[in-house]
Amino acid sequence: MPKILTVDDSRAVRMIVSRHASQMGFEVDEAEDGAQGLLKLEDEAFDLVVLDVTMPVLDGPGMLAKMREGGNQTPVLMLTSESKRSIVAGLMKLGISDYILKPFKPEELTAKMLKVLKLDQPPVASAAPASDSPIARDTAPVASHSAESSRPEAGKQFADIFVVDDMENVHKRLRTLLPPHLTIAAAQNGANALAACRERVFRVVLVDSDMPEVNSVALMRQMRLVQPHASFVLLALRSAGDVQAEARSQGFDGAMFKPFNEEGIEDFLMRFFDNQELVTLTENTMKMAAFKGKENRLQNYFTQVGTLAGKNLDDLAAACFAEAVMDISLLPPVNERVVRLVMDLAEHAKRVGVELRLVAGTELGRILSTYEETASLGLFPTVPEAQASVA
């Protein structure tokens, strides 16, 4: 159990630090000035010293200097009301690990103690301080796998979707349209959205294009700073222009139209949540899943498959695979689309230096062999045969 020494002439501050550190599962000792602190350090080893600057008898800089002179390299976290830069610069020269300005928030003390001690979380995990969230939280029943799930490694709550829109109804409407296992959080202005992004982790963030007093592009860029792994989607009204292209040029990952319709929701889910199984990759073998859905969604299916397979080819090239097996036997036999997809992927593979082995059923094989552009590609009837050719 890490041991902490808090050195401060204020009994109240020592008590706060002690109580907080104990709740986190640390062992704590106290000293009321630098001289007492040095005596404690002579008696036993500590993992961290939380040190004030201004104290009677021997002040913080004095104690720190004597520690370092004596060869004691215990990490020191300064906790002080001193913000004069010359003094802090002097402390940095003496090797402080970090600095907290009084008055401080318990969250800051927690984060900095953990950082200095190189711990991901406190020994007593429940000690992490709760904070009041400024965001509306979805209270709908949710399935177990993602339900407001805690991600201890990040220390932050997770939600699948975050809706930033000044109209409350947007969030409510989405809730009724999306599968119940997807968790949704919402904020209705920029300040709350940014606060939520600092507190939680989101998979997809939907940002309204027209909010009062909010520049949606600037807000998206700021949110990206603290949500680097999230996808950002612009919520826009339908218009004559190419909104998707416009959104992407502004740095969004795409756009979704309001009012929502079944098609838009299906596209959204396929793109960000349900597409993982459309193309699977095992070692250097890719397999395309069969198409399920209405006929008018076919184009979307081929686009998604093409995008995912392209990414897989990039991954294979990055992992130094010179050959890849691509099982396309379950693709719907729609001549032009299949040929176009295969041509695009063959070109992509060539570009990244990967040689393709295609596995196609009888019908797809017949289609591909009738087109000049795809007839020369290596076609195999089964995956094992294609893999054997690689070996």
């Binding site: 913000s83 004069k84 830069r85 300040a191 520049n215 700073l225 603290v226 680097p228 218009s239």
Partner: protein, 294 residues
């Protein structure tokens, strides 16, 4: 401090004293804000202003009109259709951004110079100011709940006294050399010393003349120490952004690294910024500045 210029000569000290005396007696000739920008800013202070009136004012300045149309149709603003009129842009960007645009457009003129030496030096100050401005805007948005536009304006203008003093020195040099061709003039180091010694006071005087909002004026007053009594103020945010921008390479001349690191460390705690966010702001800065400059 590393890189400090040599002690000022008598002439340099006199120049600094003259500037200080002129500020004190309100006789310093400062650049005026362009009339259109000044009128428009005055209009925006009136709660009953109309966007139509504001756009009519902007349209009186063709160069400003072009700049504003470019801003409104830039990637920074989401729009279904391109804005074709100033009125459309003004309603699209909103009051705060319009105010920021007017100040930025006016400030940009202060940084222009026909003298190549001054123009080059001013360009470096402008780049640094843009870096501080974009950082301050983002930090304001994350940490304070205050108006990010004040952070942006404060960052942009925190060094505006520098080009003004540089221009004054150039005028003085020309006057002296015109009177006596072989007269001694101050050295480059002394030139820098006079600017360092005077630019805050001059910047503050300019902010008074331009009637900038109080939170912005406070950003210009002092960039050296944080104000503990108003932790989340725009001025503290600009102090932090100034130090972080320098740490990221957007600096003017040599920087005392330890001193600057101390400012960053204090600011992180003062403004309640976690390391992850600060690192991302720093990593994103070069791209953000490039975007802003184009």
């Amino acid at each position: 401090m590393a890189g400090d210029p040599a002690p000022p000569s008598k002439l340099a000290a006199q120049l600094e004293a003259i500037i200080a005396a002129k500020i004190a007696s309100d006789k310093l000739v400062l650049p005026s804000m362009p009339a259109v920008a000044a009128k428009c800013l005055a209009l925006l202070r009136n709660p009953a202003f109309s966007f139509k009136e504001a756009s009519h004012l902007v349209e009186m300045d063709p160069a400003m009109t072009v700049q504003l149309l470019r801003l409104g149709n830039s990637a920074a603003f989401v729009a279904r259709d391109p804005a074709k009129t100033v009125l459309q842009v003004v309603t699209r960007v909103g009051v705060d951004r319009l105010r920021g645009f007017l100040v930025e457009s006016s400030a940009r003129k202060v940084f222009q110079s026909t003298d190549p030496r001054i123009a080059q030096a001013n360009a470096a100050v402008w780049d640094h100011s843009i870096a501080v401005a974009v950082l301050a805007r983002d930090v304001m948005a994350f940490s304070t709940g205050g108006d990010p536009e004040y952070g942006y304006m404060g960052g942009l203008l925190h060094d505006i006294g520098k080009p003004v003093v540089a221009s004054m020195l150039l005028d003085a040099e020309r006057a002296v050399l015109a009177a006596r061709a072989h007269a001694q003039w101050i050295t480059s180091d002394e030139w820098i010393g006079v600017i360092r010694g005077s630019h805050r006071k001059v910047g503050l005087a300019l902010s008074e003349k331009w009637d900038l909002p109080d939170p912005v004026k406070r950003c210009l007053k002092d960039c050296e120490e944080y104000d503990n009594t108003d932790r989340l103020s725009a001025a503290n945010v600009v102090r932090f952004a100034n130090a972080l921008a320098k740490k990221c390479g957007f600096q003017l001349g040599p920087v005392d690294q330890e001193d600057n690191d101390a400012l960053v460390m204090i600011g992180r705690s003062l403004l309640n910024l976690d390391d992850e966010l600060v690192n991302r702001l720093a990593a994103n800065l070069a791209r953000a500045v490039k975007e802003q400059l184009t």
